[in-house]
């Protein structure tokens, strides 16, 4: 998917300007509330008209103020999953799912209804009214409805922000299936860096109505480490834990991590802030932190007043943050060996 946008839009005091071209199948639009993300995607979907400019998707002009072109939303084949589920309350789950499917021209229908229902786990819900579904079920039906319309691009406008933390991580695999299972490129809008990193490859960052850059989600997280209150969040893929008596031992590649919280699943994701990793130049031998990992420094990067240290931990990657003085005192340079100490309670196992 290749999108080229050069648009301007203002509402009262707010003005949005974007002039960018981007391509990819998993694109993120990142920014705080009020930065213009939703306006941008609404313009792509045709729900909001730019004041001036041009929008071109895969060579087809969708909007051009100069050329007098404005393709209607129903003709754009751009699906949308909204922050609120926006399911039709007068229709049951099946009819909601089939709403877009029925309106999609036959030659574009490539996604099979039954396959989708199975992938999204909606089999038991089909005959039910939508008002009685749980938040997560509603969002899954909304996602299914958008996918079944067989769009050429799916816009997800903060689809997780109305869900609680547990549900959020349960829904992410379904959202990712849009691209992995159904081959539909998507634009994922969020103000959460973790969601960005789980969902997207390329990210367009917006601030106060202006696009400030196009980068990878990983790079964006590193850039924001210094100014973020939570630091850089390391996302660790862990295996099935074993009970160690007081703690749980999780395999992380070939490394064994001791973590306070257990998980009944075969694999889990854990968050670990760059602030919660303490570096030692030599093995401190005895410390209270239950995890002491021998690492090789891969690289250093600046982020605000902090220095990010990318560590190679038996093939795994870990990012720690320190100040310049610490870098000097420990003599941290690429290739040097350090010991990273992490408390068992510093990890947060993501629900899912």
């Amino acid at each position: 998917m290749l999108i080229s946008m050069d648009v301007k839009k203002s509402f009262g005091a707010f003005a949005l300007a974007a002039n960018t071209t981007f391509s990819g199948d998993r694109i993120g639009v990142f920014g705080t509330s009020g930065s213009g993300k939703s306006t941008l995607v609404s313009m792509l979907a045709g729900l909001v008209n730019p004041d001036e400019g041009e929008i071109v998707l895969d060579g087809e002009c969708l909007f051009s103020s100069a050329g007098g072109i404005n393709v209607r939303p129903e003709k754009r084949r751009i699906g949308m999953v909204f922050q609120q589920h926006c399911l039709f309350p007068h229709l049951n789950v099946r009819s909601n799912l089939r709403y877009g499917y029925k309106r999609c021209p036959a030659h574009f229908r490539t996604i099979d209804f039954d396959t989708l229902v199975t992938v999204l786990g909606l089999n038991d819900l089909l005959g039910r009214g939508v008002t009685n579904l749980s938040g997560g079920e509603k969002q899954r039906v909304a996602l299914g409805r958008a996918i079944l319309a067989n769009p050429r691009l799916l816009l997800m406008d903060e689809p997780l922000s109305a869900l609680d933390d547990t549900l959020r991580f349960q829904i992410i695999p379904y959202l990712r299936s849009v691209s992995s299972e159904f081959g539909i490129p998507y634009l994922f809008i969020s103000h959460s860096l973790v969601e960005m990193r789980l969902m997207t490859d390329t990210v367009l960052a917006f601030d106060k109505g202006v696009m400030i850059g196009q980068t990878t989600s990983e790079q964006l997280a590193r850039n924001r480490m210094g100014s973020s209150q939570v630091g850089y969040i390391n996302l660790l893929k862990l295996g099935c834990p074993s009970d160690d008596g007081t703690l749980y031992a999780y395999p992380w590649g070939t490394v064994r991590l001791l973590i306070s919280a257990g998980s009944g699943r075969d694999s889990s994701m854990a968050e670990l802030s760059s602030k919660d990793i303490i570096l030692f130049k030599q093995n401190p031998e005895a410390i209270s932190a239950r995890n002491l990992l021998a690492c090789t420094v891969r690289s250093l990067f600046n982020s605000g007043r902090k220095i990010g240290v990318e560590l190679d931990c038996a093939g795994n990657t870990l990012v720690s943050e320190v100040v310049q003085d610490a870098v000097n005192e420990l003599g941290i340079v690429p290739g040097s060996t350090v010991f990273a100490a992490v408390k068992a309670s510093a990890f947060r196992i993501l629900p899912g």
């Binding site: 754009r76 751009i78 949308m80 909204f82 926006c86 709403y99 877009g100 309106r103 958008a146 319309a149």
Partner: protein
């Protein structure tokens, strides 16, 4: 047992006929105008709103008089219809038109309240799912307007049953032809000996109105349950 004459029965029948016809005929136009006012941006919307609501604030007699001017033999529309061999004044059709005009603002108001309560994002969702505006109108806006439609229809029906001022001017008070319940009561009340007859028709009026309101409540509850 309430003593009712055959003229009274005619009045009851005519009242129901007028109220049903006025409501049914107004529904499509009322829906269209409520849609325009709620969802479409256009110049002069305020003028349309004022015109639609005007019969609500004008005395019905004034509405009736304007209708008489419009539909009368020498009226702008009346002369055209007269040429085509259609006479409206002092017929049941005129009573229906009078009721429709007077009750129309109530229908449009209720429909508007219902439509304004529809989440715009549902309409956006339907558009992004491939539905053109007319499809969205029929498959999203119309079904979600049903509570407003029911409320508006009941109000309009009830208002039509009670319509007096405009009707007596354009349709007259002809027993068996244009005499509805309020007109018949008016006639009884004008005569010192017909107090019982007037009261009997008043009771009939109360029963019909209550039946309409009960029906309305039941339907509203049914649609609310379905949601």
């Amino acid at each position: 047992m309430i003593p009712l004459t055959s003229t009274d029965y005619d009045a009851i029948r005519l009242s129901l006929q007028v109220a049903i016809a006025a409501t049914v005929l107004s529904l499509p136009l009322g829906f269209g105008i409520a849609y325009l006012i709620t969802f479409v941006k256009f110049r002069g919307k305020i003028v349309l709103e004022v015109f639609v609501n005007l019969p609500l604030t004008l005395p019905p007699v004034v509405v009736g008089y304007f209708l008489l001017l419009l539909l009368g033999k020498h009226g702008w529309l009346g002369s055209l219809l007269n040429d085509a061999g259609i006479r409206l004044i002092f017929t049941l059709k005129a009573a229906v038109i009078a009721s429709a005009v007077v009750g129309f603002p109530l229908l449009v108001r209720s429909l508007r309240v219902g439509m304004e309560g529809i989440d715009r994002r549902l309409i956006n969702a339907s558009r992004t799912l491939g539905a053109p505006w007319h499809d969205t109108l029929l498959t999203v806006i119309l079904p979600l307007s049903i509570p407003g439609l029911l409320a508006g229809s009941s109000l309009m029906f009830a208002r039509s049953l009670g319509e007096f001022g405009a009707t007596i001017i354009v349709a007259g008070n002809i027993p068996g032809v244009t005499q509805t319940i309020p007109l018949a009561i008016y006639e009884y009340a004008s005569s010192p000996t017909s107090e019982t007859m007037a009261l009997a028709l008043c009771l009939v009026s109360v029963v019909i109105s209550m039946a309409v309101l009960f029906m309305h409540e039941l339907l509203v509850r049914k649609t609310a349950r379905r949601d």
